[in-house]
Amino acid sequence: MRRKWFYLALSALALSALVLAQGRYQIGTPLNEQEVQEWNIRPSILANGIGLPPGQGTVDEGAKVYATHCAGCHGSSGEGGAFTRLVSEPFPITKETDSVDFAIGNYWQYATTLFDYTRRAMPFATPGILSNDEVYAVVAYILYQNGVIDESEPMNAQTLPRVQMPARALLELDPGTQKRFPWLKLP
């Protein structure tokens, strides 16, 4: 009996040495790229545009998407209604701007965020219903309403990351964060 325990303990040791050989526990199921994509139903759009899907949309098309899916909550042209204002002048906020007036043209620092967030979380009660073309279009419309792009500029994976947001000029890394993470740079 004693001996049996001894061998059991020994094999458990050998096993854990094996399992932890590469410092790993060998728990979890490996996924291939396609399986990852199936899980990743709302991929993140990085500030450099990585993750943007194919497709495109114009300001005119966006006006229709907006009227159908967004106006009810954000006002007929983005001025705000039941919920957040989306439209402002295309000048960065100052320290005097009332925060109720913070919106895309004066506070948002990356145009890619608008695609990422709209596809990820809007319309509020029915997220995920818009096609990629519709998201590009409504993004174009909102950027146009904010005076950030021209009416004739369609938005797609090439044009959107190039859009400069006025408030980017105000954005800086928190100095405490910079001290702790010296390598950290804002895109």
């Binding site: 199921t29 993140s44 009332d98 913070f102 965020t113 967030y117 997220p127 954005l171 895109p187």
Partner: protein, 431 residues
């Protein structure tokens, strides 16, 4: 107060039947009629899941009547009605961006992918098989305090509405570093983008270094499964950092070399500074404290009181908490309980005999890195008047000669009427 006077007051107080919390005096009342009834009949039977006493039903989270939606926004933990340092799970403050998802643990999966050697998928059971860690940490919304500030001060303010967007729990989970090692990090990996399984598919950027340091992938809160509002079945716990980065209902972690700059780290949860700049990634929660007794809308009587409150800091341990009984002119050291743990809430206490004169009481926390709380003036010297986050100025309570306690903050010339904006929603909780 000298010792002689204290003793005099103590004995006077005792004679007047003072050692009673709040109003009403046991000493004056006769033995209550109902007090022995329960000794004559059988009590309730065993039951499978405990409930608090029916007489405690008014201890609830505060939800502002001004909210436009209860699917986004925040509610507050009832700080002045709680004791000790652990926030009961049912009373932990809430903040969601698209409602609370109902996640079936059988369908739950966590995927780690991106710049890793082996993309991996974990079930809940998988996560529980890894070595576990249990630690007590506070979670605080970056907007905590926003609601405590009004100029002129709000005379109906309570400790709950001033600072109730903080809660403290014992969290159990697997260190994220273990899971990352399991997947194998590729060279150049710097950032993680965790994503929630809620309607907002909520995402943030988290630097890998923090993740490898102390971040937990938690599945239990105060000994049982995490509550749905807190991220059931699995959430991130990012000790000491703003609550909004501690992604709930965690379903996916993408490893990258750049941050995502998601809506909730650009449009929200960025700070406007006094020089007009916008600061990004203001993750660490500065020191904070609040007196919960006596506090706004309570009434006390002359005599002995143990002043009680809560203190915490995202920079590390609380080193000391000071109390002022004279509107900030002088400060005395409070005692702390339990022995402060890093990045968790500590309770402070101070024995006090109130002589019945109007006074203003305050508390101020210091952490082990030497950080403390600013006055309101100091806060606005650094942050802009339209900033919405990280307000941690000292909260004062005024005790009137009638024993009624109200907001003791001063009216500040040139300061904003409030932080955050009515009608914009957000994490301040009430506007």
């Amino acid at each position: 107060m000298n010792r002689r006077k204290l003793l005099q007051l103590l004995s006077k107080g005792a004679a007047a039947g003072a050692f009673v919390k709040l109003s009403g005096g046991l000493a004056q009342s006769k033995i209550p009629q109902g007090a022995t009834e329960s000794m004559k009949v059988l009590g309730a039977t065993l039951r499978e899941y405990g409930e608090r006493s029916e007489f405690e039903k008014d201890v609830i989270r505060y939800i502002s009547p001004n909210l436009r939606s209860r699917h986004t926004g925040a509610d507050f933990a009832p700080l002045e009605k709680l004791e000790g340092v652990i926030t009961p799970s049912s009373l932990h403050f809430e903040r969601h961006h698209g409602g609370v998802p109902n996640v079936n643990p059988a369908d739950y999966r966590l995927v780690i992918h991106g710049m890793v050697e082996r993309p991996l998928m974990f079930t809940l059971q998988d996560l529980k098989r890894f070595p576990s860690v249990t630690r007590t940490y506070f979670i605080e919304c970056a907007g905590n305090g926003q609601n405590g500030y009004r100029n002129p001060p709000d005379m109906t303010l309570t400790a709950t509405r001033s600072r109730g967007l903080v809660s403290n729990s014992s969290w159990t989970g697997v260190p994220l570093s273990i899971l990352l090692k399991e997947a194998g990090l590729k060279e150049g990996a710097r950032w993680l983008i965790p994503e929630g399984q809620d309607a907002a598919a909520y995402t943030r950027s988290l630097p890998l270094e923090k993740a490898l340091d102390d971040v937990l992938v938690a599945y239990a809160q105060n000994g049982e499964a995490i509550r749905p509002e807190q991220g059931y079945p699995v959430r991130l716990v990012v000790p000491g950092w703003e609550g909004s980065i501690q992604v709930k209902w965690l379903r996916r972690i993408q490893v990258t070399d750049t941050p995502v700059m998601s809506k909730d780290e650009t449009s929200e949860y960025t700070d406007v500074m006094a020089d007009g700049k916008i600061y990004a990634f203001t993750w660490v929660m500065d020191p904070e404290s609040i007196i919960t007794y006596p506090s706004g809308l309570q009434q006390i009587q002359r005599g002995f009181h143990e002043i009680r409150g809560l203190a915490w800091s995202g920079h590390g341990r609380i080193r000391r908490v000071e109390i002022s009984l004279d509107g900030g002119k002088s400060w005395k050291q409070a005692s702390l309980e339990p022995a402060p743990d890093a990045l968790s809430v500590v309770r402070f206490k101070y024995n006090w005999v109130w002589d019945g004169k109007e006074t203003v009481i305050m508390s101020r926390a210091w952490d082990e890195k030497g950080n403390t709380q600013p006055t309101q003036e100091e806060f606005f010297a650094k942050w802009a008047r339209n900033n919405r986050y990280h307000y941690n100025a000292i909260q004062a309570w005024r005790i009137g000669a009638d024993g009624k306690v109200v907001n003791g903050d001063k009216t500040l010339a040139g300061a904003p009427a409030q932080l955050g904006a009515v009608g914009r929603g957000g994490c301040g909780g009430e506007s």
